[in-house]
Amino acid sequence: MNNTLVMGPVLFNWKPEDWRDFYFRIADEADVDEVFVGEAVCSKRTPFLDPFIPDVVERLVAADKKVVLSTLALIMNTREMNNVRDITASGDEDILVEANDVSATALLKGQPHAIGPYVNIYNEGTRDYFARNGATSICLPVELDLNAIGALAKDSPVPLEVMVFGRLPLAISARCYHARAHKLHKDGCQYICAEDPDGLDVQTLNGEPFLAVNGVQTMSHAYSDLSASVSDLQDLGINRFRLSPHANVDMVAVAQLYREVANGAIDAQEAHARLSGWMDGAAFCNGYIKGENGHTFSDAQ
């Protein structure tokens, strides 16, 4: 069966030019099938990215990547609502839109669309509802284990996707913790989240790495690496694998790595060893998929 490698949306506040150049390089060099483009975390960042989106989309399309426009996960005011309305109205059969909030699934009803990991799809009843609504792919919530994924994959009317690489999006809030960590408020945030292109490290009082803050989003400190579970996922019928972009590792190489894992060309231990080598000092996790605490890591397949 064919594997679909998905490059998820950039979740961090990268400099707009860096953001553009990242996608250009993905278009030119990365062995991925689908690329998600657009702000999912904080509406204050969208005005900076918007001018670059047409060029990025054009470059990706020219490189035969399927492009999906991502949307905000948390929508609280008219400006944010209108932003999502505009994007959902701009999608067509060639360029789909990813819903990250129930509101966007409603706006996309009856037309093909993707659903991101911020929409709660934990069971068959919800999966089937969204399939009837027009969803053509569903990226599952990050906290599901293999049993739940297996039950969802069984007889699924819509292809399911699992995020296999990157810091896990664990929570989203009205409050900006990046601003708060700098004694600022969200309204006067000075876009301070741009200082941390992979998130701001959060440690416990005794200095253990714990979480990472990305504006209004809270992420895992550890990087999820599900390479050891890719073949299990394939056995369950999952063939869409999402990579979440980071600045501190070459995502073209990460894509190549997961392609080889998905094709069975290298085993998971080799894959994890390579990743660890590229990301000096990074901690990894894969506990959720094994039904354990999310932060734990075990390289047993």
């Binding site: 996960a73 948390l74 929508i75 609280m76 005011n77 008219t78 609502m81 999502v84 309305r85 129930v102 509101s103 966007a104 699934t105 409603a106 709660n120 934990y122 069971n123 068959e124 009843g125 919800t126 999966r127 509802y129 919530p141 990050v142 906290e143 599901l144 049993n147 739940a148 994924i149 039950a151 969802l152 896990l168 664990l170 929570a171 989203i172 809030s173 009205a174 409050r175 900006c176 913790y177 708060r180 960590a181 408020h185 309204d187 701001l200 959060v202 440690q203 416990t204 009082l205 200095g207 803050v213 809270t218 895992s220 506990g287 959720y288 039904g291 354990e292 605490n293 999310g294 932060h295």
Partner: protein
């Protein structure tokens, strides 16, 4: 304007009676299993207890809402479906649901059973709320604790369902139903297990210097100097280090108290006020419910009644939370 409805928590039959006796218009509660978002040991209702609770509430003119607001486990929806079926059979006034599959199930199988949308669905905007109304005939939405009062007012211009807002008690700082912090640390999630920062993963450890640390799973959540009052290590209310500074990064150990904003909330279009705390004892429930009863009754006569619930609030401190924009 219609008088605000006071919706109060109960985790035990004694708490239910205390809430009703203290002036609750409605009591919300859950079954004793993972189908509700306060799945704590020794808490919640058996079927016979619910039946008696409904009888007691009815005798005093109060209503009962049944919270079935976790997300059913894939491969095992039965306990959730049965909870809706039993709630309908016993005659609850409404079910509070979060999962779309569950709303679909309830709408198809119990069309006459009133459906409310749980805060766990995190419906924070008009398109989402109107979707739940159009698709599942939801009559009321419990708003997530992310909106300011002006945002609630603006929202009401674009929706026609009732809204219910939290006014007192524990304060989720993350959008509800969209937080996996607890499962990242403990494996137990609000969405699937109905618990956050579960007690079975909590440890308090005495240090050599007389201080104490509180831990959740493998992680230190807070530390307390000798004599300092130690709070429960709810993950998002801990002290952490970021950007070289130690702080309550996500939220201070505070409770929500919006008692001084009831008129504003009513003017914004809100129908019902919700008090958090199904895990609380009957004395707490009685005190908080009576205080809000007085405040709501006081609004009728034009007198805003400030409550004095500071002593029962978490950390003895209060906040108006997201209702004020500066909170963000």
């Amino acid at each position: 304007m219609k008088k605000l409805e006071l919706v109060c928590p109960a985790g035990t039959p004694a708490a239910l009676r205390a809430a009703v006796d203290s002036g609750a218009d409605t009591v919300y509660l859950g079954f004793r299993d993972a189908t509700n978002a306060r799945n704590f040991p020794g808490l919640n209702f058996s079927r016979p207890e619910l039946e008696q609770g409904i009888e007691y509430a009815r005798s005093k003119g109060a209503h009962i809402y049944l919270a079935i607001n976790t997300f059913p486990t894939a491969g095992d929806p039965e306990p959730w479906h049965k909870a809706v079926d039993d709630g309908a059979a016993l005659g609850v006034d409404a079910v509070i649901l979060a999962d779309i599959g569950m709303l679909d199930y309830a709408a198809q199988n119990h069309p006459d059973l009133r459906r409310h949308l749980s805060v766990q669905a995190s419906a924070s905007n008009p398109e989402a709320i109107n979707f739940y109304q159009d698709a599942f005939d939801v009559k009321r939405v419990v708003l997530p604790r992310v909106l300011t009062v002006p945002e609630i007012k603006a929202l009401h211009k674009e929706i026609s369902v009732e809204t219910e807002v939290f006014v007192f008690g524990g304060l989720c700082v993350m959008a509800e139903g969209r937080c996996s912090l607890s499962s990242y640390v403990t494996g137990q999630s609000p969405n699937t297990n109905g618990v956050c920062s579960p007690a079975c993963d909590v440890r308090y450890e005495d240090e050599d210097d007389g201080s104490m640390v509180s831990r959740l799973g493998d992680f230190t959540i807070n530390a307390f100097a000798p004599g300092e009052a130690a709070g429960y290590p709810t993950l998002c209310k801990g002290r952490f280090v970021a950007n070289g500074e130690t702080s309550y990064l996500f939220e201070d150990p505070v409770s929500l108290n919006a008692a001084s904003m009831l008129s504003e909330l009513q003017e914004a279009g809100v129908t019902a006020l919700k008090i958090e705390g199904r895990q609380r004892g009957k004395a707490y429930i009685a005190e908080v419910v009576s205080s809000f009863r007085k405040s709501v009754d006081g609004m009728e006569s034009g007198a805003e009644v400030e409550n004095d619930l500071t002593q029962v609030a978490e950390g003895q401190r209060k906040t108006a939370g997201a209702y004020q924009k500066t909170w963000r």
